[in-house]
């Protein structure tokens, strides 16, 4: 044919990006609602209730409010870094969803190095937090950014080590391959063969997305809001959205790597994937309304003295056993 053919893969990626955009927007609303509802119920109150039935429209109203707010920049702030930070924080999130296999069909793009792809791009978020804190010309923001960098850099190591243990067993970085290596029943999932790795991964994941009890970069009671102190309106909204989306990403990876992905008893499909993912999200939110924040020295001690050696030992044992059997 003489007509230049648009590659199918390109169309697929564009459609996937559109779908991811919709997914991100929708989930932003859903998670805000769930977060506030869980907060309410954990404290024995109903949570948002007034706007819409059972307060269902509250996050929508919140979003409208955020969009309508004026964007401010403090005097003395670096305009480039200040406005770049929320975009840098949010944009990689769209890419992160591409290689995640929600079901055999519902995969944006089959990436052979899928897990590496996600880990590499999720690291950009730290840069965004750093830019935001540095560009704000605000001491709280700077402190928050410093904490964010120290924390993220530290916790990325055991996170990688725990994932590496499973990758050793599967022998592939492709997320779909990792799902296929597990069976449909819970005892065939990697959480049973690698329980320690799962615990390390989940702890690191909570720390990596700056959630309680590791939310030091935005510790409300100490730093007003940490790195996003000076942001208003949608600039703050983007950080907020990026945080929630990163939560979804880490829970998705946990689902894929440790909980059998789309596979489940009786039937397989995206339903199982979402059920597991939202269960993990619920647990992270549950953590937030249960645990007090750790001190910074505790945070780093947990990482360097516990998670890192345990992760290394786990990896060594896995490697050893894989070599023998």
């Amino acid at each position: 044919m003489s007509i230049p053919i648009i590659p199918v893969e390109l169309i697929r990626i564009i459609v996937a990006l559109g779908a991811v955009g919709a997914f991100v927007g929708l989930n932003g609303l859903v998670l805000v609602y769930v977060e506030r509802k869980v907060a309410g119920h954990c404290q024995r109150r109903p949570g948002p209730f007034e706007v819409g039935p059972h307060g269902l429209l509250t996050p929508l109203a919140d979003a409208l409010k955020l969009v309508g707010k004026q964007l401010f920049m403090p005097t003395g702030a670096d305009p480039w870094l200040f406005w770049l930070a929320p975009i840098v924080s949010f944009l990689p999130v769209l890419l992160l969803f591409l290689p995640i296999p929600f079901s055999p069909v519902l995969t944006g793009m089959e990436v052979h190095l899928g897990i590496l792809f996600i880990l590499a791009f999720s690291g950009i978020n730290v840069l965004a937090l750093c830019l935001a804190g540095w560009g704000s010309n605000n001491k709280w923001a700077l402190l928050g950014a410093g904490r964010a960098v120290a924390q993220s850099v530290a916790y990325e190591i055991p996170l990688l080590l725990s994932l590496l243990a499973v990758i050793f067993m599967v022998g592939s970085l492709n997320l779909s391959e990792i799902v296929r290596s597990q069976g449909s029943w819970p005892w065939q999932w990697h959480i049973c063969t690698q329980p320690l790795a799962f615990l390390i991964y989940f702890t690191c994941a909570v720390a990596e997305v700056n959630r309680n009890p590791f939310d030091l970069p935005e510790a409300e009671s100490e730093l007003t809001a940490g790195f996003h102190t000076e942001y208003s309106g949608m600039a703050f909204g983007l950080f907020f959205l990026a945080e929630y989306m990163n939560m979804i990403i880490v829970c998705s990876i946990a689902t894929v790597v440790f909980l059998g992905g789309w596979q489940g008893p009786f039937f397989s499909g995206a339903l199982w994937f979402f059920a597991k993912m939202y269960a993990l999200l619920f647990i992270i939110i549950w953590f937030r309304w249960t645990y007090p924040r750790v001190r910074f020295n505790q945070l780093l001690n947990i990482n360097w003295k516990w998670l890192l050696p345990l992760g290394l030992a786990n990896l060594l044992v896995t490697a050893f056993l894989m070599k023998i059997f």
Binding site: H41, C42, Q43, R44, R45, P46, W286, T290, W306
Partner: protein, 184 residues
């Protein structure tokens, strides 16, 4: 050995994380303790501490039981209560005449005593810390906390509450409701 034991203790202490999750998880499933306010209200607010109110005499709902012993005003840690006793009534000219005549006859004259009733009973609610010492100390049970949940003013001066006037107001309202009930 000490370091090992310490490490082991750290691992054992992780159980406390589960305990914490159990607590909030339990609460998550329990019924709510709050009510949806404008549509529902709490039925029992007896323990609510609003501004003070005076307890009326059983015979006369416009007069308080107060005997002006000053226990509330002297014990108030915030100095929120201003209490003034009624003065003795001025004798009429006839009474004065009778008194003088009695004196001339050499009899002992009994002057009229001031009644044991407050002339002013003012609580400055802006100073009150709602500790309840006045309520506990009142020997005749003449003051109590009101259940006025919706008490609000727009000026600071309005927080100096004339409790006697409020008592009379309340008595008037009670009479109104009573008469309405009787008519019904």
């Amino acid at each position: 050995m000490g370091a090992l034991r310490e490490s082991w203790q750290n691992i054992v202490d992780l159980w406390s994380l589960i305990v914490g999750l159990k607590v909030t998880g339990k609460y998550f499933c329990y019924r709510h303790r709050t009510v949806h306010y404008p549509r529902k209200t709490v039925d029992n607010i007896n323990t609510f501490r609003g501004p003070l109110e005076l307890v009326p005499k059983s015979k006369d709902p416009t007069k308080p039981k107060c005997i002006v012993c000053m226990m509330c005003a002297t014990n108030c840690p915030c100095g929120a209560i201003t209490l003034v006793k009624k003065k003795a009534p001025k004798p009429t000219p006839e009474e004065l005449k009778a008194e003088e005549e009695a004196k001339a006859r050499g009899e002992k004259v009994k002057k009229k005593k001031a009644p044991k009733e407050p002339a002013r009973f003012i609580q400055d609610f802006s100073l009150c810390s709602l500790c309840g010492i006045c309520v506990e100390n009142c020997p005749v049970g003449s003051i109590r906390f009101s259940n006025d949940v919706y008490f609000a003013v727009t000026r600071r001066e309005d927080l100096a509450l004339d409790l006697l006037a409020r008592l009379r107001e309340r008595a008037g309202e009670m009479e109104k409701t009573l008469s309405v009930e009787q008519e019904a």
